[in-house]
């Protein structure tokens, strides 16, 4: 990769684009000076060292390269890099200590209303916001490592914050310790792929009013409240991992006011709630694995016309939770490890329907303290009798063709 880059640089010099080198023992010592010297299409190559130059503004179409991860230090006062030109490339820097907690949301790297900006292979450490795309188009944010050490929501910004943008690609970044790992608001036609978002204070991914996006093969682990996807339609959520999002009001995936979306091939493991749905319509939840969650799914009464098919429910404390008695969602051919039916015709589908909502789940919904009694002999008796003669749980909360064996997912 690097070799290719150098070859590219070598040839680009023939195209009358210059390389301006910045470093302690180079002719140009300051980055700001180099930018002022640069012409459109030039490359600025910054050598190893610590650069404390306050706010650096890139206002020309240039390639801004770091060699050996030169440090850009914001000294907790400044926004470090402001990109105010199209098609800028920022690569190979270590950006640290942006200013924090002020009205203008100081960032490590911020893009102002531009397109085709590439931000890749950077290390961002201890910044208020990490990368901020404001009104950007066709930008690529790739292979960045973004770390912060936030302790409270108010004291820290988001890792990758995208607002009112379109056609973004967020690929293979690692984010931890921010408020939200990745934040999308009014962002459309974008893809979030192969990112790892862990240990953020609020959400691993926070997603609002952002239609027609996809997020694929990401890992969201141990975030304060998991992942929230809200007020959005046409989202595709494929092959993601939602793990160990624990706590009161913590969810693997929190869906609110979502329509016409797909949740396919994800794994929800060890979350307090795997998926929590409110006001969610026409969603297809398919081929997911729900494993060792407190509640695999909580479907509130405001959810209509969702299809839950071909999922594996294994080792969850409760398979389902709900706050209402009206059920307008479909469950079909899922594997439930708590299913105790039989399969006389040996077609792999159980002959009696499965009721995924247990009496105790309803009791706990009404009175959370009752959790204290879980797995006691008396509760087991109550649950069993409810299974035989449903009286409190809605009897159309049902999977008519539960599978006998788990799906190979």
């Amino acid at each position: 990769m690097k070799k290719l880059l150098y070859i590219f640089l070598f040839f680009s010099s023939f195209l009358h684009a210059h390389v301006i080198e910045v470093g302690a023992n180079k002719p140009v010592k300051s980055i700001k000076k180099a930018i002022s010297l640069a012409k459109i299409g030039d490359t600025i190559l910054v050598h190893k060292g610590v650069y404390r130059e306050g706010n650096i503004v890139i206002d020309k179409r240039i390639v801004f390269l770091g060699k050996g991860y030169p440090v850009l230090d914001g000294q907790k006062k400044y926004e470090v890099l402001s990109i105010k030109a199209d098609s800028v490339v920022v690569q190979g820097f270590k950006v640290i200590k942006s200013g924090y907690a002020s009205l203008e949301d100081p960032c490590a790297i911020k893009v102002y209303n531009k397109s085709h900006v590439v931000i890749q292979n950077n290390i961002l450490d201890d910044n208020f916001f990490g990368i901020y795309i404001q009104n950007g188009k066709n930008c690529l944010i790739k292979n960045n490592t973004i770390v912060a050490y936030g302790k409270e929501e108010q004291q820290i910004g988001n890792g990758i914050h995208c607002w009112k943008s379109e056609n973004l690609q967020i690929i293979a970044n690692t984010i931890s310790g921010h408020r939200d790992g990745i934040y999308f608001e009014f962002v459309t036609n974008s893809v979030i792929w192969r990112n790892i978002s862990t240990n953020n204070i609020r959400y691993g991914l926070h997603f609002m009013f952002s239609n027609d996006d996809a997020y694929i093969t990401n890992i969201f682990k141990n975030n304060g409240a998991g992942v929230a996807v809200m007020f959005t339609k046409n989202v595709k959520m494929f092959n993601n991992y939602f793990e160990e999002n624990w706590g009161d009001g913590a969810y693997g995936l929190f869906l609110k006011e979502i329509t016409d979306s797909y949740i396919i091939g994800n794994k929800f493991s060890k979350n307090t709630s795997g998926i929590h749905m409110e006001g969610t319509n026409r969603i297809r939840i398919e081929k997911n694995v729900f494993e060792a969650n407190g509640w695999a799914m909580k479907i509130q009464a405001s959810c209509v016309d969702n299809e839950i098919v071909n999922n594996n429910f294994i080792g969850n404390t409760f398979d389902m939770g709900t706050n209402g008695s009206l059920v307008l969602n479909k469950f079909n051919t899922n594997y439930w490890d708590k299913y105790e039916g039989y399969d006389l015709d040996k077609n792999g589908v159980g002959d009696v329907p499965y009721h995924p909502l247990s009496l105790f789940a309803v009791l706990v919904e009404n009175n959370p303290s009752a959790m204290l009694l879980f797995r006691s002999f008396m509760i087991t008796l109550l649950d069993k009798s409810e299974k035989v003669l449903p009286s409190i749980t809605p009897d159309n909360f049902i999977d008519n063709s539960p599978l006998m064996h788990s799906l190979p997912l």
Partner: protein, 255 residues
């Protein structure tokens, strides 16, 4: 003392009921672990064994054994042995045999199929629950000379801890659901050894659910090392206090 413990221990091991108990535990555990490729179902089965079967068998078997040993106790009393020693030997012999039965029946499959913190936790708690109900058996058998009455007391005791106590808690929870009674409930659980045991296992088995809602309150209390220490000490008190009361009564008993 060792000689008497050995005599009692060997006598119980020859007992067919204890063999059947071990065998049934083993069949239940092995079959439920073998049923599926994950250990969840097996763990649940063993949880139910610990909360249901172990207390029942421990208290019933120990009570009946004590009544059947009246002659033996009389024989020992005419010998130069301290009363305390006789009673303690009986307790230790019985406990040892019951714990061994639990260990062979449920503990070994547990250690083989779930050799993690949950498995070890369940093993320790199963042994403690065995001891608690053996101790309660000593108490119930010293309360009355009448064998039928004594067994009745034992069964009532078991029924109370296994079923009625939780019923009362459920009733209280719904009666006072408008008040913040979670903390009070933590205190109340100390009054039932089965609940203490159950919550400790729950915190390991259903950790994801216990992290949410009020579960977090219990987790914050019982899940800390202090809470763990406290519940184990409470379980130990549930062994020591009933046995100690029975010991005092035995010391002053006329035979």
């Amino acid at each position: 003392m060792n000689r008497i413990i050995k005599i009692i221990f060997l006598d119980i091991l020859k007992n067919k009921i204890i063999l059947a108990y071990t065998l049934i535990l083993a069949i239940l555990s092995w079959s439920s672990f073998g049923l599926e490729d994950n250990s969840a179902k097996g763990l649940l089965t063993i949880l139910n064994i610990i909360l249901f079967t172990v207390p029942l068998v421990s208290i019933l078997f120990a009570t009946i054994y004590l009544y059947n040993s009246t002659e033996f106790i009389e024989l020992l009393l005419s010998q130069p042995i301290k009363r305390k020693k006789i009673w303690l030997s009986l307790f230790l012999g019985l406990s040892l045999a019951m714990v061994l039965a639990f260990f062979i029946g449920a503990g070994i499959p547990l250690l083989i199929n779930a050799p993690d913190s949950v498995g070890i936790m369940m093993l320790i708690i199963g042994c403690l629950i065995t001891l608690v109900f053996v101790a309660l058996a000593f108490l119930s058998s010293i309360l009355t000379r009448d064998k039928a009455k004594g067994i009745g007391i034992a069964i009532m005791g078991w029924l109370y801890f296994a079923l009625l106590f939780d019923g009362i808690i459920l009733y209280l929870l719904f009666q006072f659901s408008d008040y913040p009674i979670e903390k009070a409930m933590i205190v109340v659980t100390a009054f039932s050894p089965i609940d203490l045991a159950r919550i400790q296992i729950l915190l390991h088995l259903d950790v994801s659910a216990m992290m949410g809602y009020t579960g977090a309150i219990f987790k914050d209390f019982f899940g800390t090392s202090l809470g763990l220490l406290l519940s184990f000490s409470l379980l130990c008190l549930w062994i020591i206090i009933p046995f100690f009361i029975s010991l005092i009564k035995f010391k002053n008993k006329d035979l």
